[in-house]
């Protein structure tokens, strides 16, 4: 009987190990395909030249710039909003109906499919507010999409600030807001930065929302203003891979674009993880 239990355990643990191994394998295989096929395509020229010959040659410059615009635009809205909301929820909100409603709204925004955000952006920003398909409309749509991510990350950062800091400051006759500004926020900044950076990755990679709010199939120029249409890396990849003029011929460009996208997103993620670990060590000293 005991022998049986031992054998069962061996089998079970092997299965668990295999499951974990499979997950790791997925990651490695995907990275391998994109990197091994993409790295020879990437060059400074690829990054800085316009697409040429009906997108069958040339670079990805306008798509890269468009994605950077989207990152800046959406962060400019979502970051201050998200941090302020998190400070309210963590430091001021008292348990009750209003707080419940806010928390519920955040969780549901976080779980809403990105294509639904796209529909909303189309109906509200593009049509109702008359921004047209534009950098602005897409940035606002993406800002709403990442708002819950930023709020949650900021809340988590605030929770890790020891209660003792707050008490010590308040006991010195310092007001609540000054305590937050001088003690709580400085201690929480690394965590908030991590969250913000992670959502940069999200903005860079989202396709469905911008598809509905202003991403262009092809533009021979950079966006001139916030009200211009734009190209963006993820949509560019989608277009080339599914609807380009010559799908097979542009495969190298597709791999190159996918790799650039991957580098941005994962680079940003690694950077965030590095910051987090750096400060975690510092805190635990």
């Amino acid at each position: 009987m005991f022998q049986n239990a031992k054998i069962n355990e061996k089998i079970a643990f092997s299965l668990l190990r295999m499951a974990m191994g499979l997950v790791v394998l997925f990651v490695l295989v995907i990275l391998y395909y994109i990197i091994s096929n993409g790295y020879s395509v990437i060059s400074l020229e690829f990054l800085t030249s316009m697409p040429a010959k009906r997108m069958t040659a040339g670079g990805i410059y306008p798509a890269l710039v468009g994605t950077i615009y989207l990152i800046i635009g959406s962060m400019a809205f979502a970051l201050p909003m998200g941090i302020l909301a998190a400070v309210y929820l963590n430091e001021y909100a008292k348990p009750g109906k209003v707080t419940w409603l806010i928390e519920m709204a955040i969780s549901n925004l976080a779980g809403t499919p990105s294509v639904v955000f796209g529909l909303f952006g189309l109906a509200m920003f593009v049509k109702y507010l008359g921004f047209g398909p534009s950098v602005l409309a897409a940035s606002l749509t993406l800002a709403l999409l990442i708002l819950p991510v930023i709020i949650r990350a900021s809340q988590e950062a605030l929770i890790t600030v020891p209660r003792e800091y707050r008490e010590a400051s308040l006991a010195l006759g310092v007001t609540k807001w000054q305590t937050i500004r001088r003690v709580v926020l400085p201690a929480a900044i690394p965590g908030m930065v991590t969250g913000a950076i992670l959502s940069v990755g999200r903005v860079a990679g989202e396709t469905a929302p911008i598809l509905l709010t202003g991403a262009a199939y092809f533009l021979p120029r950079l966006p001139e203003s916030a009200f211009s249409q734009f190209m963006a890396l993820p949509y560019h990849l989608f277009v080339l891979a599914t609807a380009g003029t010559n799908i097979a011929q542009t495969r190298p460009i597709q791999y190159g674009t996918a790799l650039v996208l991957l580098i941005i997103v994962l680079g940003v993620n690694l950077f965030a993880i590095a910051i987090r670990n750096h400060y975690r060590k510092k805190m635990h000293r």
Partner: protein
């Protein structure tokens, strides 16, 4: 003193407004989504939308049947969940119970990377690698079928399932596990008779959110499932091209005249999608808070 209090109050109000903006955003989202969705039913009966078996949005007598798209989403999602749930939970158990802290620290970034890869890159990978592979392996006319979508979606849902399950499993108090081990149970018996049941609510929430993630995914399914709007058989439908609700919106929105029935039909689909994920989120949140392990 009054000046200071005024300032403190002012700041609190500003912060409150920022937080309420989330509620406002959700509210506006519902309004704009439903408003354009409901307009469909001026010209097209709701009952047909719900029961009509075909989606012919551009024919002279257009038919806007939700069913093929809804079932397309369902079959792809079910396929994804069937393999992602056991795999994800097993990986979560491995990370939290078997792996040494050092190994766990190495493994966790893998799930984070997986979570970070953009869906369009998953779709691209599926299209250029998995689709031809599936086509050969099953000797099919095309590899762009529901199963391909399920596999990629499953992989995409893994990080959600793993990280939330792992949180739930790690938060089971050590004393409970030790109690079991002290009775002479093996580590595995402890895991599957004590630890996992104790973490079951968290794990269920993880599964729910994984389903939410899979059902709402757009680019990936659009790129690998073939996008044919017919009601899929089950399980034979897994090997046929299908079209999901999300893919329909993304594919067709670019070409519809704004304000047309077709335009409103896409918003109606979006509303269905939103309501579905809304319910999933509410249930997942409820499970999580209601049965949270009290330490």
């Amino acid at each position: 003193m009054f000046k200071r209090n005024g300032m403190e109050k002012g700041i609190e109000s500003l912060l409150f407004i920022s937080a309420v903006a989330a509620v406002l955003a959700l509210f506006l989202l519902c309004i704009f989504l439903f408003r354009d969705g409901i307009l469909l039913f001026r010209d097209y009966p709701l009952s047909s939308f719900l029961t009509e078996k075909s989606w012919y949005p551009t024919s002279i007598n257009p038919r806007f049947g939700l069913l093929p798209l809804l079932l397309g989403s369902v079959i792809v999602t079910v396929g994804a969940i069937v393999f992602a749930v056991p795999l994800g939970i097993a990986a979560a158990i491995y990370i939290s119970e078997l792996a040494s802290p050092r190994v766990a620290d190495i493994l966790k970034p893998f799930t984070e990377i997986l979570a970070g890869i953009p869906s369009v890159v998953f779709g691209f990978f599926g299209l250029v690698v998995l689709v031809p592979y599936i086509q050969d392996a099953f000797d099919l006319r095309t590899g762009q079928i529901a199963l391909t979508g399920s596999i990629i979606l499953g992989i995409m849902a893994l990080p959600t399932i793993i990280s939330i399950s792992e949180d739930a499993i790690s938060s089971v108090p050590r004393s409970i596990k030790e109690g079991s081990l002290a009775l002479g149970s093996t580590k595995w018996q402890t895991i599957h008779k004590v630890t996992v049941p104790a973490a079951l609510s968290g794990i269920s929430a993880a599964v729910m959110l994984g389903i939410g993630r899979a059902i709402g995914e757009t680019m990936t399914v659009m790129m690998v499932t073939g996008n044919t709007a017919i009601i899929p058989g089950f399980p034979s439908g897994l090997f046929e091209p299908v079209r999901t609700m999300t893919a329909t919106i993304a594919l067709e929105m670019g070409e519809v005249p704004q304000g047309s029935d077709h335009f409103h039909a896409l918003f109606a689909i979006g509303s269905v999608l939103f309501i579905t994920t809304f319910i999933i989120n509410i249930v997942a949140g409820h499970i999580k808070t209601r049965y949270k392990f009290k330490l």
